[in-house]
């Protein structure tokens, strides 16, 4: 693994019974990159995310995550929460906020250190617990300021607009202090002005926070504006890789999006 590689997916195959969701997928991502994965519905984009975050366990292949803090290690077979603690954070296709909690609490949970037991600390409220509370309060308000939700801090998460929910999810993911953030269709269900805000926000996540971004998105305008490199998945396989310009000109990609079958495309 070269110095600047952050994550390396090699020959990953994921099956559910007879259905092949990912077929021999190879992908690598450099530290500090904004990388997008695109593809038609059912192409295996979310499966790829779920494999990286430990929700699914691929049958073949390796996924190596090179944290700046630790030697490169394989994430396959690791629990989701472990991978999150290692520095891989994510958002979800349909936003999954803690809807009964306030915006602030949502982010604070992400900022908190979930190792250790904590029950005694909660009961005694010693200096360590109070310091922990203070630190996570500060991290949480920092994230809210970053995504521009400070004024909504006391609002219940379920009351937010769609675009604000997306930003809150990003804030929550950032609160875990990740090195890599996976965004699963962050612009789904948002209006054009919110899309513009999100584009700026995602770029700031990389530029200001130094967090690498791996993105799934259907909105081509947003993808082409943001991504420095793209991978195109179709029927579980990588069919193209390159810069936005290269992808736009790639015949296999055009076929996949215009609906020709892989056989025709290959022929």
């Amino acid at each position: 693994m070269t110095e600047d590689l952050l994550i390396k997916v090699e020959n990953v195959t994921l099956r559910f019974g007879g259905v092949v969701s990912l077929r021999d997928v190879t992908l690598d991502m450099r530290r500090g990159e904004i990388l997008a994965v695109i593809g038609p519905n059912g192409a295996g984009k979310t499966s790829l995310f779920n494999s990286i975050t430990g929700v699914y366990e691929p049958q073949e292949g390796t996924i190596t995550f090179a944290s700046a803090k630790a030697p490169p290690l394989s994430v396959i077979g690791k629990k989701t929460y472990r991978i999150a603690q290692l520095g891989v954070s994510r958002t979800f296709q349909a936003s999954r906020l803690f809807s009964a909690l306030t915006v602030f609490e949502n982010v604070k949970i992400g900022a908190e250190d979930h190792r250790g037991i904590g029950v005694l600390g909660a009961l005694v409220k010693g200096p360590r617990t109070r310091r922990g509370e203070h630190i996570s309060d500060n991290i949480a308000s920092e994230q809210l300021r970053f995504v521009g939700l400070v004024n909504e801090a006391g609002t219940v998460a379920s009351q937010l607009s769609y675009g604000a929910r997306r930003r809150l999810e990003i804030a929550r993911a950032l609160a875990t202090d990740p090195e890599l953030i996976l965004l699963d269709e962050p612009a789904a269900g948002t209006n054009p002005s919110e899309k513009l805000e999100l584009t700026t926000l995602i770029r700031r996540v990389r530029d200001e926070r130094g967090v690498s971004v791996l993105l799934i998105e259907h909105d081509m305008k947003l993808v082409m504006a943001l991504a420095e490199r793209l991978y195109v998945l179709n029927f579980g396989s990588v069919i193209a890789e390159g810069t936005p310009e290269e992808i736009r000109a790639n015949p296999a990609v055009i076929d996949a999006y215009l609906g020709t079958t892989p056989e025709e495309a290959g022929a």
């Binding site: 975050t53 929700v55 629990k79 989701t80 929460y81 999150a84 603690q85 954070s89 994510r90 979800f92 999954r96 906020l97 803690f98 809807s99 009964a100 909690l101 306030t102 602030f104 609490e105 604070k108 949970i109 992400g110 908190e112 250190d113 979930h114 037991i117 904590g118 029950v119 600390g121 909660a122 009961l123 409220k125 617990t129 922990g132 509370e133 996570s136 309060d137 500060n138 949480a140 308000s141 920092e142 809210l144 400070v150 801090a153 006391g154 609002t155 219940v156 379920s158 009351q159 929550r172 993911a173 609160a175 875990t176």
Partner: protein, 448 residues
């Protein structure tokens, strides 16, 4: 609304004067040495004094009613009126937060004072026993189950198992079971508290680790199975647990600290205060837990386990923790019951007990500590009254008919419980200024 505002205090004075006048004017006066009962013939108050809960002087009842009415009028009534909204428009958020905090402390102080002096007004020992056994202990049980069901969102149908473990551990370690005490050395009942709590917790963890990977319904079935096993074990293993008779001779609590010695005996009042202390400890501890990182992690898991895991929360660990805390409180209730009643037998720990505790939690409001405590007091008082006085041709077996109807009505009109938890209520109400002053401090504080 500020309870200490001029208008509010004026209202209190008026209500108190009214109460004294009403107390003086109603009913026959008590003679020397004869307690004066409320004399409104056929009134509810007369009934209250009939069933013996308050055979006390009129004025105490009227003054209590006046204070409660004042609290209610000042704190809850205006919320429903649009006046409140106009009030809020002119008061700043920090002021409102301060008022709400003051009001909360006044309310807590009033409740504590009433609770401390309650035994003075309850003249029948029988009712004191009921208050301790049927209310005090059950508040503790309900608070414990609330951690599991309300905070962590795990349906536990076998809570009675931990209750039984606590009680039988006490009997075992005090040497009153057919099995000899460990090392043949019986220990005082009070020392059984850490042992019973610890053992229940160990059972909770052992049961939790393999089963808490399951979700929802499966977990409920496993806990139910566990409770049935424990129930069966204590009922049938006469050589170990005394079988159906259990044990009749669990020693009472004795506190011996060398310089100070206290023996809890027949009189229920000391048990009342013992229970009271533990209830306060539980209330404080569980409130602290709810608003700690552990409490937030529980809510996160309850709301969305996948999302919780994606930000580094280990769901299994936190679920086992909730389960262990719940089990520990169950065990605690068991030890207390054993030391209190002095005799334990399998009927105390039947499956029905698990359901009853769950009903208290649902009725009071899942996840709401004060709601659950109030729910326990209301439901347990009502059932004790029905069982012991059998009004309106009530039969013993009718109880669950009434409770069932109550639950159905609750689910229709107040699905989140009598006093819903703030977090759960939000799911229904939506916007609310949460975290109160704290949030402002945090958000403005580190701008500096």
């Amino acid at each position: 609304m500020n309870l200490l505002s001029r208008a509010s205090l004026k209202r209190l004075v008026v209500l108190l004067i009214g109460a004294v006048v009403a107390a003086v004017m109603t009913g026959a006066p008590g003679g020397y040495g004869v307690p004066a009962y409320t004399g409104i013939h056929g009134s509810l108050l007369e009934r209250v004094s009939y069933f013996g809960l308050f055979t006390t002087q009129r004025w105490t009842i009227f003054l209590t009613l006046a204070i409660l009415a004042w609290l209610f009028v000042s704190m809850y009534l205006p919320r429903a009126l649009f006046i409140r909204r106009r009030m809020e428009a002119v008061t700043s958020l920090p002021t409102r937060v301060m008022q709400r905090r003051t009001n909360r402390w006044i309310l807590i102080a009033v409740v504590i004072v009433i609770t401390i002096f309650l035994p003075k007004f309850v003249h029948q020992q029988f009712w004191m026993y009921l208050i301790v056994e049927q209310i005090g202990v059950w508040i503790l049980l309900a608070l414990g189950l609330n951690v599991v069901v309300g905070f962590a969102g795990l349906l536990d149908l076998g809570f009675a198992a931990f209750y039984a473990i606590g009680a039988y551990t006490t009997a075992w370690f005090t040497g009153v079971l057919p099995t000899p005490a460990p090392f043949n050395h019986p220990i005082p009942t009070l020392w059984c508290i850490p042992i019973g709590v610890g053992l229940a917790m160990v059972f909770g963890i052992l049961l939790g680790i393999p089963t808490l990977r399951l979700r929802g319904d499966y977990l409920a079935i496993v806990t139910l199975g566990f409770a049935l096993i424990i129930d069966d074990f204590v009922g049938t293993q006469s050589g170990v647990t005394g079988g159906g008779e259990g044990s009749l001779t669990v020693p009472k609590f004795v506190l011996n600290m060398g310089f100070w010695h206290y023996h809890w005996e027949i009189n229920p009042t000391p048990y009342y205060y013992l229970c009271f202390i533990f209830v306060v400890i539980f209330l404080v501890a569980f409130t602290a837990l709810e608003y700690s990182r552990v409490g937030r992690a529980w809510v996160a898991i309850r709301e969305d386990e996948v999302a919780a895991e994606s930000i580094g929360i280990n769901p299994l660990k936190y679920k086992v923790m909730a389960f262990a805390v719940g089990a520990a409180s169950g065990g605690f209730g068991g030890v207390l019951t054993a030391g209190l009643i002095g005799n334990i037998n399998p009927t105390l720990f039947q499956y029905q007990v698990s359901v009853n505790v769950l009903i208290l939690v649902i009725f009071g409001g899942m996840g709401s500590i004060w709601g659950v405590a109030i729910g326990a007091i209301v439901v347990q008082t009502a059932t004790s009254y029905l069982d012991n006085y059998q009004p309106w041709g009530y039969q013993l077996n009718d109880l669950y008919m009434y409770i069932g109807a109550l639950l159905i009505i609750m689910m229709i009109f107040r699905p989140a419980g009598i006093l819903p938890s703030r977090r759960r209520k939000r799911e229904f109400q939506g916007y609310e200024v949460a975290h109160e002053g704290h949030l402002d401090e945090v958000l403005s504080g580190d701008e500096e």
